[in-house]
């Protein structure tokens, strides 16, 4: 909302600097986004008069003017404009002046003739023909009688380009502040100044409006009131300068007197108006009703729109002429030959207007005001103001009276006046008197312990709302500050701590954290080559996504990680080692919320990455989670991964993680031209099986005995199988077993490999004898031979 301070001065006389004004209003609840002094970029532009014009001696299209700017000697200025005659009053940019766009003008020579400045066009003053309809586009702006023609006067003062425009952010609960009157009330309350709005008056109307207009409201639940007035013998013309400049300052383009009046009144009172040509109102009858399904209307923007039965229209005897509160029909506007005009000031149900605007896809200035619920009590005053302005501007002959159908009168809210409640709620101590005074300043009445809320403030419905009114004029910054008292137990839940642990482990493992979007493209699941019947394609689907890229909630964190790897690869980063603690969404149909589970996804490519680096990280995570007993099996059929380089980790036969080298086809789909590795851990399951309790075990007192054992086995035999066989056979004194060599080559034969372990035996009770150790070793060897291993000697 742009507020003209000149307009504001009609209602409240506030004397303060712009900066202080902005701060005071911001702190009382009307947030100032900024303010601008019109024409502030201009320097040294004054009013001048053409004393003489002569042809430039060396240029056919140039003129040499003598310009009187009220100083002792006139200026000589060369111009290329062809619209000047002697005696014209014009804007003169003197030597060292600044015109629109910050362009600096200096004295100089044009084709050898001295020029001491420049004569300005309307555009060079930052204005358009809408601001001064009598100006020309391709010539000098010749000031009309609506300007101050004092020679030498600053041009801004001469043409009224000297307002201050304040921009407010108005919250959706305060449609009353989308108006000069509403803001003036706030200003007056903020500065505790008197505030009054004069009641508009129409004098000496002709004939009787009832002979011209009949109004019926068929839908009193959504159209609360309709007030109509008629103007005959319309004299369409530009509006006067004062009105044009106020509209301009408010960000509205002046059109003609009738249209300008409707906009002016809307800006002044906050209530949209509509003016239309009586010629096109069949039967001179306004009917407010719901549209008949299938009915169409061509709106002012030239588009034909099909209506549904829940859209309210303003209709005549035959057809809809406007979508109520949203937009008029194409023939309903004001044309150059319009003679008789109907002015409409109506009030509709906010949600109903909002739904209609949304359904038709056209949010307008009008609908955005109506949907915040305007005040039907204001309709008549607004209409009368418009008719008053018609008379003031002599834009036509006002027909006597108005047609007023107020079918659903609004009731003023009342609340008990309870100053104690407010003091307790806000944490202040303001007397009842002072509280009542504040409320009266903003138009509330306080009598006999009852607060009556004016109908333009139907946002106030609760004691808490009254407290806010008092708090904001008392000043939020005058309310004391207290620390919270009492005891509170703040600690992370076990689940929250577990996430923190995983993040620490990942970072300690050299992985950097990423944050990727929760929504992905369904096509990502083609890129990871998932079969079309995969349950991972059972998405939570967004009805109104920004685009396909972000249209479904992810069911797996792997596409997100691959996208991040791809972006890094594409950005020519040599290597990347990344992780994300990512939420995935498992649909439970449309009647239940989805399950939101977390996955720890790890992705890497580049220097020092391979399958075993990845596996090592996962082993360390499992170890730190207190998990030592798990199986890992090869996965050959997961389309995301290389069929020979993928494994899954099982605990109690349930998968807790999958890890592997990304399938070359998937890499191709992501345009990653290097090997990449990825793992995905089910965090919910890992948390359930993690054992984070630690119990101290005595440090060993007796020496250990170590043995190395090497076996030749089938190449396909997993090392873990052999290792588990050895461990199971080695007895309770086996302290640790460690793989230290795997060898394939001619020495062990085709299809075979040699696998060497280091075994360490120790007892907590005594030094083990050679005999005991040998027994264990022999048992281990025998067990290994049982699965086809041959001991290497």
């Amino acid at each position: 909302m742009y507020l003209s301070k000149r307009w504001l001065a009609d209602f409240v006389a506030v004397k303060d600097t712009d900066k202080n004004f902005a701060e005071a209003l911001t702190l009382s609840g009307s947030k100032v986004e900024g303010y601008e002094v019109e024409g502030s970029e201009f320097e040294n532009i004054v009013v001048g008069k053409i004393d003489s014009i002569e042809k430039h001696p060396d240029a056919d299209n140039l003129w040499v003017c003598s310009v009187d700017i009220g100083e002792s000697t006139p200026l000589q200025i060369v111009t290329g404009a062809q619209n000047l005659t002697v005696g014209d009053i014009i804007p003169v940019a003197k030597d060292n002046s600044v015109i629109s766009g910050g362009k600096r003008i200096k004295a100089g020579e044009l084709r050898g003739v001295k020029s001491e400045g420049m004569l300005c066009s309307i555009a060079e003053l930052g204005l358009t023909l809408h601001d001064f309809p009598y100006a020309v586009e391709d010539g000098i702006f010749i000031l009309g009688d609506d300007c101050d023609k004092t020679l030498g006067l600053d041009i801004r003062d001469a043409i009224g380009l000297n307002d201050t425009i304040v921009e407010f952010e108005i919250t959706s609960n305060r449609p009353d502040c989308l108006s000069v009157v509403g803001l003036a009330r706030e200003v007056a309350a903020t500065y505790d100044l008197p505030f009054e709005v004069e009641t508009p008056v129409v004098k000496n109307g002709i004939e009787n409006v009832a002979d011209y207009l009949k109004v019926d409201i068929e839908v009193p639940e959504t159209c609360y009131r309709y007030v109509g007035g008629v103007v005959k013998n319309a004299r369409i013309a530009p509006s006067p300068r004062w009105m044009r400049e106020r509209l301009r300052a408010s960000g509205v383009r002046p059109i003609n007197n009738i249209v300008d009046i409707t906009n002016y009144v809307m800006l002044e009172y906050g209530q949209p108006m509509h003016a239309f040509d009586l010629r096109f109102l069949e039967g001179n009858h306004v009917i407010v009703r719901n549209a008949v399904a299938g009915e169409t209307i061509t709106t002012l923007d030239g588009e034909e729109r099909e209506l549904t039965s829940d859209i309210m229209v303003i209709a005549d005897a035959k057809k809809p002429v406007a979508v109520a509160g949203v937009m008029g029909g194409e023939y309903s506007g004001i044309m150059d030959d319009t003679k008789t005009i109907v002015f409409e000031s109506a009030c509709f149900n906010g949600p109903s207007v909002r739904r209609a605007a949304k359904a038709l896809g056209m949010r307008t200035e009008s609908s955005s005001r109506f949907e915040k619920q305007l005040n039907p009590d204001d309709c008549n005053r607004v209409l009368t103001r418009a008719l008053e302005l018609v008379q003031l501007l002599d834009a036509g002959d006002v027909v006597s009276g108005v047609v007023d159908r107020y079918v659903s009168p609004v009731k003023a809210n009342t609340l008990p006046f309870d100053p104690e409640w407010t003091n307790k709620f806000i944490g202040i101590n303001i007397s009842a008197d002072k509280q009542a005074k504040i409320l009266r300043r903003i138009g509330f009445s306080v009598e006999n312990g009852i607060v009556t809320i004016p109908t333009f403030r139907n946002d106030v419905t609760h004691q808490a709302d009254l407290s806010e009114e008092i708090a904001r004029f008392y000043g939020y910054n005058n309310i004391p500050s207290h620390a919270l008292s009492g005891i509170a137990n703040a600690s992370l839940t076990k689940r929250q701590s577990f996430n923190a642990l995983l993040e620490k482990l990942a970072i300690s493992s050299g992985l950097s954290e990423v944050q990727s979007f929760s929504f992905v493209s369904p096509k990502d699941y083609d890129k990871i080559c998932l079969p079309s019947d995969s349950t991972l394609r059972d998405f939570v689907v967004i009805l109104n996504p920004l685009g396909e890229d972000t249209s479904v909630m992810r069911t797996s964190s792997m596409p997100s990680m691959l996208s991040v790897l791809a972006r890094n690869y594409n950005n020519r980063n040599e290597s990347a080692l990344l992780f994300e603690l990512a939420t995935v969404y498992k649909s439970n149909g449309l009647e239940e919320l989805p399950d939101e589970n977390q996955e720890l996804v790890i992705g890497m490519y580049g220097k020092d990455t391979d399958y075993y680096v990845l596996k090592g990280i996962i082993e360390e995570i499992l170890y730190r989670c207190g998990i030592s007993d798990y199986d890992i099996t090869a996965v050959t059929k997961c389309p995301v991964f290389h069929p020979g380089r993928c494994g899954k980790i099982l605990i109690n036969e349930k998968e807790v993680a999958i890890l592997g080298e990304v399938h070359p086809q998937v890499l191709t789909n992501y345009e990653i031209e290097t090997r990449a590795y990825m793992a995905c851990i089910d965090v919910e399951y890992l948390f359930n099986i993690a054992n984070l309790e630690r119990v101290y075990k005595a440090l060993p007192k007796f020496p250990a005995t170590t043995y190395d054992l090497a076996f030749v086995v089938e190449k396909t035999l997993p090392v873990l199988t052999l290792q588990k066989t050895i461990v199971n056979a080695s007895g309770e004194n086996l302290e640790s077993i460690e793989l230290f060599d795997v060898y394939e080559g001619t020495q062990v034969g085709e299809g075979k490999k040699s696998v060497a372990f280091n075994l360490k035996f120790r007892s907590a009770k005594r030094t083990l004898t050679d005999e005991e150790c040998n027994l264990a070793i022999n048992a281990a060897i025998e067990a290994a031979e049982g699965i086809g291993a041959v001991l290497r000697s």
Binding site: S172, N173, A464, S481, L484, E503, E513, F517, I542, E596
Partner: protein, 339 residues
């Protein structure tokens, strides 16, 4: 014999002076002090001495033994030191060469600042709550005094799953969920992802993070709201930070406020960072609307509360001087490694 001993002393001295290694030194020791050494030979002749001479010569012999032993010990120490010095001299390295770093990963900037915010509030006794990201319209809007067709819905362009299910546009639904399951006194923050239908640009993202706060107890007033948020601002931005509370409107708090802090770049004088206002908006909040308490199953006559919401991206961007929000979700390793 006395002369013999004197000669032995001076010979040993001379020989020790020329010794350059531990093995040579050992040879000297054996030569004089060994079982078949010269001193032993002298002592063996003691039997032939008179009773008067014996203690004198014995004493002299012991002196010589002590002398040579001491000298050998001293020589041993100095040879060892020389040897050590020689080794050290050969072992010098280029201390400027790069170390063998154990490269750790980097925490995402959003997480770094979120951790700080959590620490600050946990220090004030707040627990951490969580709620679903795919949420019911009821929790996200209706229970927060935003019925269907309410204009406040416009400021939060919503992604819908069905007409009743949506991606939460704010962390505020956590307020209702916490109130429904926990009895006052309540003191929680609820950080998390929120979603709005905003196209990606330097300052917008369809996904971003908020941190909701909620306190409900008997006798909670705006003074506690102010005290808590002022303490938060000082902890996050430094003890000199000033705060300013401005009236605002949120349907689920009343009175509502927005909170500005004095610009941490210019200290409030005005600069491009704060658009010359001297103040930077960091959060919104207010007293929980009594109707919202009731919607959460809490008696608004007995209890009151305050709530607030902080935009995490905004404070992260201020903290690290980021000018483009997209960097946070692009996850370029060159970006991540800076934190």
């Amino acid at each position: 014999m006395k002369e013999q001993l004197n000669a032995m002393r001076s010979n040993a001295t001379a020989e020790l002076a020329t010794v350059t290694s531990l093995s040579e030194l050992d040879a000297v020791r054996i030569k004089y002090l060994g079982k078949k050494g010269e001193l032993t030979a002298v002592l063996k002749q003691m039997g032939g001495l008179s009773a008067e001479e014996r203690p004198i010569i014995g004493q002299a012999a012991n002196d010589v033994r002590q002398y040579i032993t001491d000298e050998i010990e001293a020589k041993t120490a100095s040879l060892k030191m020389e040897g050590l010095n020689a080794r050290l001299a050969t072992e010098s390295i280029d201390v400027s060469m790069p170390g063998k770093r154990k490269v750790l990963g980097h925490r995402h900037p959003l997480s770094i600042v979120l951790d700080e915010v959590k620490d600050i509030f946990m220090g004030m006794g707040f627990s951490i709550a969580q709620g679903p990201e795919v949420e019911w319209d009821y929790y996200n809007f209706e229970a927060l005094n935003i019925p269907a067709d309410h204009p406040a819905r416009d400021t939060q362009d919503t992604f819908y799953i069905t007409d009743k299910m949506l991606l939460r546009t704010q962390t505020s639904p956590c307020q209702i969920r916490v109130m429904e399951t926990t009895k006052p006194p309540l003191r929680i923050i609820a950080p998390g992802r929120v979603f709005r239908s905003d196209a990606v640009d330097a300052t917008h993202s369809p996904l971003f993070h908020q941190i909701e706060g909620l306190v409900v107890d008997e006798g909670i007033t705006m003074a506690e709201l102010k005290g808590t948020l002022e303490a938060f601002a000082k902890r996050l931005y430094g003890p000199e930070t000033k705060t300013r509370f401005r009236p605002h409107h949120f349907p689920f708090t009343e009175p509502s406020c927005e909170v500005d802090i004095s610009c941490f770049k210019c200290g409030g004088k005005g600069c491009p960072m704060c658009k010359n206002e001297g103040w930077i908006e960091i959060l919104g909040g207010g007293m929980v609307h009594p109707q919202v308490l009731q919607n959460g199953g809490i008696d608004p006559v007995k209890y009151s509360g305050f709530a607030f919401g902080i935009g995490l991206e905004r404070i992260v961007m201020f903290r690290f001087g980021l000018d483009d929000m997209r960097l946070l979700y692009e996850n370029d390793i060159r970006f991540l490694e800076q934190f």
